[in-house]
Symmetry: C2
Subunit: 135 residues, 2 copies
């Protein structure tokens, strides 16, 4: 009897770590590595929000502005451009006046959003506990 510490695994279960590629298995992420660049894009403040919004389906510029609350036009343009270059977002512009542009996820972007959504949901669900528990 007496106090007993709660115990949980100290490393990830084998089946999860088994899916890690080689050079990553020891937790080392080489500095110049291309994956660092990609990781920066997809975990950027606005990148996450845009990908999340687009996981709800095709949307216009103005709709994206509304959903990623607080984003400036400059950052929206910049973020969309990066995601488009990365092949995660598809831009369809119709030659009408006033202009109409629809954004959607590519197949790759769609695949990614499947990983991003649980992460965002986790942050959303744990945010209050995390920030309240600080002295």
């Amino acid at each position: 009897m007496g106090m007993e510490a709660t115990v949980w695994p100290t490393t990830l279960p084998e089946d999860l770590r088994a899916h890690l590629p080689e050079g990553l298995a020891d937790g080392v992420f080489p500095a110049g590595c291309p994956s660092r660049t990609v990781l920066d894009h997809i975990t950027s403040k606005w990148g996450v929000l845009i990908l999340l919004a687009l996981s709800e389906g095709e949307q216009r510029w103005s709709e994206l502005r509304r959903r990623a609350e607080g984003i400036s036009e400059k950052m929206l343009a910049q973020t969309l451009k990066t995601l488009e270059r990365d092949g995660l977002v598809l831009r369809k512009a119709q030659p009408v006046i006033p202009p109409r542009v629809d954004y959607s996820l590519t197949e790759r972007g769609y695949e990614l959003s499947g990983l991003l959504v649980p992460l965002v949901a986790w942050a959303y669900n744990n945010a209050d506990d995390i920030l309240n528990g600080q002295r």
Copy 2:
């Protein structure tokens, strides 16, 4: 016959979206929302790498420096402090000389790393395709 476009779902499957909390279901992330803060911490450049490294188990300061290749001492200290305050990382300091400090994931941090690892692995696996496909 002729050309046929590859088709994939344009929104996430119902069972995934069903796990999204209320206010998130329409893809809107309120600007002042606490989850924005938490999301920024866990998707920060160095935060991701530290959490990833720690998913391999308890590690010392110097070992973390090595694994998060390229990080400066200043940023390592800062990132660890944030993650510790957020209750994701546990710091155990031993009063010996020279000092010895071990860092590990808390239960909450461990839970999080289960979502982060697939994301990082995805970035690692797709990085070359993504960066090569740009003109």
